[in-house]
């Protein structure tokens, strides 16, 4: 059967004792069911390859001008998109290992939230914004994502990001405490993330314990995302 070879959405690679998940291609990496399913499959593989007794680490990064430009608002079912985004966030926050977002392009709206769902955010200095566009496109932010932003940003940065829709360069994001560090270009950003991953793996943390710590630090985030998934199960069932 002749089939056009479609470029995969993402790729998981092992580098030494940590892993890198790359969003492939020069597109906007908009979050929709096919992209999320591809990422979830990679994360499943990652879990099966990681040791139960000592943490590895995951770096998420992207090719091209975008880390992710947010939800795919052109996808036929908005409900399916939202549900899949909640599944994606749930998968990331439940990973039993440190996670680093190496942001080498724009991260807007849900893309910004995805970056914040990582334990560390490294950003390239020379290009790209972090931006919550919801105020300008008149969309509300659901409780799960809202709790993620609120738990990771200072009160003032939270107000600036959400209510003012400020476009943060890496410098602005660093000053506001939104990102952990900034680096000259895409390659140096990724290299810095690799070094950090090695440093964290060397701490030899216990994977389950690490995940429990994260859950204990951000209980509202976990509760809100679980509730979103439960509610959408309920409403899906009620449509049967």
């Amino acid at each position: 059967m002749a089939q056009e070879e479609k470029e995969p959405y993402c790729r998981l690679e092992r580098r030494g004792n940590f892993f890198v998940l790359t969003l492939i291609g020069d597109g906007e990496h908009r979050i929709n069911p096919p992209l999320v399913d591809a990422i979830l499959a990679c994360l499943q593989t990652l879990r099966s390859l990681s040791s139960p007794s000592t943490c590895t680490a995951l770096i998420t990064t992207g090719h091209g001008k975008f880390f992710s430009n947010g939800l795919d608002l052109a996808f036929p079912s908005r409900d399916a998109v939202r549900r899949k985004f909640a599944e994606l966030l749930s998968a990331y926050i439940n990973l039993p290992m440190p996670t680093i977002a190496a942001v080498c392009g724009h991260a807007a709206a849900a893309g910004f939230i995805l970056a914040l769902a990582h334990d560390y955010v490294y950003m390239r200095k020379d290009r790209g914004f972090l931006y919550m566009s919801e105020i300008d496109v008149r969309i509300l932010i659901p409780p799960g994502p809202m709790n993620i932003i609120r738990s990771k940003l200072t009160p003032r940065a939270f107000r600036d990001a959400v209510l003012c829709g400020i476009k943060h360069t890496a410098g602005m994001a660093l000053e506001a405490g939104i990102v952990d560090s900034m680096h000259g270009n895409a390659e140096s950003t990724r290299e810095a993330a690799f070094s950090k991953a090695e440093e964290l793996v060397a701490r030899k943390w216990n994977p389950d314990f690490y995940r429990e710590m994260r859950a204990a630090m951000y209980p509202e985030v976990f509760a809100a995302i679980s509730k979103t998934l439960e509610d959408s199960d309920v409403s899906a069932m009620s449509k049967l």
């Binding site: 105020i135 300008d136 509300l140 009160p155 003032r156 107000r159 959400v162 209510l163 829709g165």
Partner: protein, 240 residues
């Protein structure tokens, strides 16, 4: 445009283009009495029903507000203190639900209830040379009602919240700016108001929608809003 001017004796509402200026008038301490709370709430209701796109609150004289009107509460503190606290929380709720950005142009002391009123705004601009932000509650054994405490906690960095409330630190304009309590410092009252109007003017030009703005603010602080509504409803709360 110019010329729309309502005055109810203790405060006034004036319109400049699409920005409303709510002014605490006269050289008094602008302490919160039932009369002042009622007049302020009326003006905010007018603002909510108008097609204006920003509210700037400012003051005449040396005080933004020095807190509760203790002359009024003195004859019957057991009933009057809870009453005025409830009125103040209703005023704060009105601001938190208002369908436009709010700017406090602070040209004097904002103490206790006055601090709460200032923090209930989205943005704060302050005179560099005059006025403190502080809460003397700890020095007079006054336990903050939970809703008021939650508001301050939601808007301040953890260390600032602790220093402000548990230590009763008096923040000058310069200190307040350093810790992010205010967004900008200006030379005098005229410059403070002008800066607030300038910031408001820039923001009103963006294509956000009023209902969406209000919805976004509510979704940023849902537990806070819910707690304030419970406390300020008739039946209210008991201060121990």
């Amino acid at each position: 445009m110019l010329g729309l001017f309502f005055s109810a004796g203790m405060c006034s509402l004036e319109r400049f283009g699409s920005i409303l200026v709510l002014r605490l008038t006269g050289e008094t301490e602008h302490r919160f009495s039932p009369a002042l709370c009622s007049q302020l709430r009326q003006h905010i209701a007018t603002a909510a029903a108008s097609d204006a796109r920003a509210l700037v609150t400012t003051n005449d004289g040396k005080y933004f507000s020095n807190g509760l009107d203790l002359e009024w509460t003195k004859p019957e503190p057991q009933t009057r203190v809870p009453y005025i606290l409830r009125e103040l929380e209703r005023l704060v709720l009105d601001l938190l639900k208002l369908n436009m950005p709010t700017y406090a142009a602070i040209c004097g002391h904002a103490a206790a209830g006055g601090l709460l009123f200032a923090m209930a705004h989205d943005h704060r601009i302050m005179r560099k040379d005059r006025g403190f932000l502080y809460s003397a509650a700890v020095d007079i054994n006054f336990v903050l009602p939970p809703g008021s405490s939650a508001l301050l906690r939601a808007k301040m960095a953890p260390k600032v919240f602790k220093d402000m409330i548990l230590q009763g630190v008096k923040y000058t304009g310069i200190m307040a700016n350093e810790v992010g309590l205010v967004d900008s410092l200006q030379e005098d009252s005229a410059a403070t108001l002008k800066e607030a109007l300038d910031q408001a003017s820039k923001f009103v030009e963006r294509p956000w929608e009023k209902a969406a703005y209000a919805g976004l603010r509510l979704s940023m602080y849902p537990e806070l809003i819910e707690r304030l509504e419970r406390e300020s409803s008739s039946g209210g709360f008991i201060t121990v």
